[in-house]
Amino acid sequence: MEYIYASLLLHSAKKDITEDSLKNILVAAGISADDARVKAVVAALKEVNIDEVLKNAAAAPVAAVATAA
């Protein structure tokens, strides 16, 4: 999950999620960044609206309740 945490860190700090920025963080954390994986994550994240996803993540437990009720 390191790549995702790094991406969320950048998103949270309102920084662009690029291959470089992601790699920088991973390296700073002492993790050897896998180029292909970095590329894949950056490409995949371009296709989603992260804010939207996080908003839904916050709602998830509530939804869980709703389905059970």
Binding site: M1, Y3, I4, L8, A40, A44, V53, L54, A57, A58
Partner: protein
């Protein structure tokens, strides 16, 4: 017969009353003015009993209270508009809102009169009513209360509800309820204003809704927890929530982009599977998918 002076026209009891009022006003921080309009006088003693040791309730003439208040240094101009009609005065050293809350928790009941709405469910209990069988039997019939006659008295067969809270109590039932000692209507003092060490508080302000305070406390707490979580306010109990939230966010994001690692595979694949099963069951009754979706 000696000369009658202006002074002597004032009855002694009035002078005495003003003196007493002055004494109470001087030793009290605040006074609540409550209307007695439509308030059953026989219920006042229950309120007095309830307020014992906390406040003193007196019913006085507005004019006498006004004189006593003025003599005690109260700005009666503030109060004059409330000093009409029949009033009770509640003197206390407590916060007047406390008195208001206390009285709101204390339910006073009275007998119904025709036209009243029930404040609580009105039930005619099964058993002997003590009412002689006679013309009253037809009243029970009209109220659809099943009865039988035993030893010349009307017996009710089953507990019978004749009005739910908020419903009008059938006028025919009023004498029966009185006979049975059932008081389904609440009475409360209506506060006009409070005067608290120079501060005038309107009667409507005195009505405190405790539930709304509870809601506000919860809201305030939620807000500070949300904010503390967001800034990762460094105390362990907040950081726990921050971590949970970060983890959920990471799980959701990796699911959304189909990013798989051994530590999120369970979550991501389960999520895809749950969606597939949800969709399968949504169309399962129309299409033979060749699979069994467990319900």
């Amino acid at each position: 017969m000696s000369l009658v002076t202006q002074q002597r026209k004032i009855p002694d009891w009035k002078i005495e009353e003003v003196k007493e009022l002055e004494a109470i006003i001087k030793k009290s921080k605040s006074v609540i003015i409550a209307s007695l309009q439509g308030f059953p006088a026989d219920k006042l003693h229950e309120i007095r009993k309830n307020l014992r040791d906390i406040a003193e309730l007196r019913v006085s003439k507005n004019s006498l209270f006004s004189i006593a208040a003025k003599n005690s240094g109260i700005n009666t101009e503030l109060l004059s508009k409330y000093l009409t009609g029949t009033n009770a005065f509640i003197f206390t050293n407590r916060n007047p809102f406390e008195i208001s809350i206390m009285l709101s928790k204390f339910k006073l009941k009275r007998y119904a009169i025709p036209g009243d709405k029930a404040d609580e469910e009105v039930v005619i209990p099964a058993g002997d009513t003590g009412i002689a069988a006679g013309p009253m039997l037809s009243v029970f019939g009209k109220l659809k209360i099943k009865t039988k006659v035993q030893d010349g008295k009307i017996h009710v067969i089953n507990d019978t509800t004749i009005a739910k809270p908020g419903e009008e109590i059938p006028a025919d039932a009023v004498p029966i309820l009185q006979k049975l000692g059932i008081m389904p209507v609440y009475v409360k003092l209506s506060f006009k204003a409070a005067y608290d060490e120079g501060l005038l508080i309107e009667g409507s302000q005195l009505e405190i809704n405790l539930d709304s305070y509870r809601t506000q406390v919860i809201e305030a707490y939620r807000n500070i927890m949300a904010l503390a979580t967001e800034i990762a306010y460094p105390v362990p109990e907040v950081l726990k929530i921050s971590i949970e939230k970060a983890m959920r966010n990471a799980m959701s994001l990796s699911t959304e982009i189909g990013y798989l690692t051994p530590d999120n595979a369970q979550f991501v694949i389960s999520s895809a599977q749950a969606k597939a099963l949800a969709l399968a069951s949504a169309i399962g009754d129309k299409v033979d998918l060749g699979i069994q979706v467990q319900v």
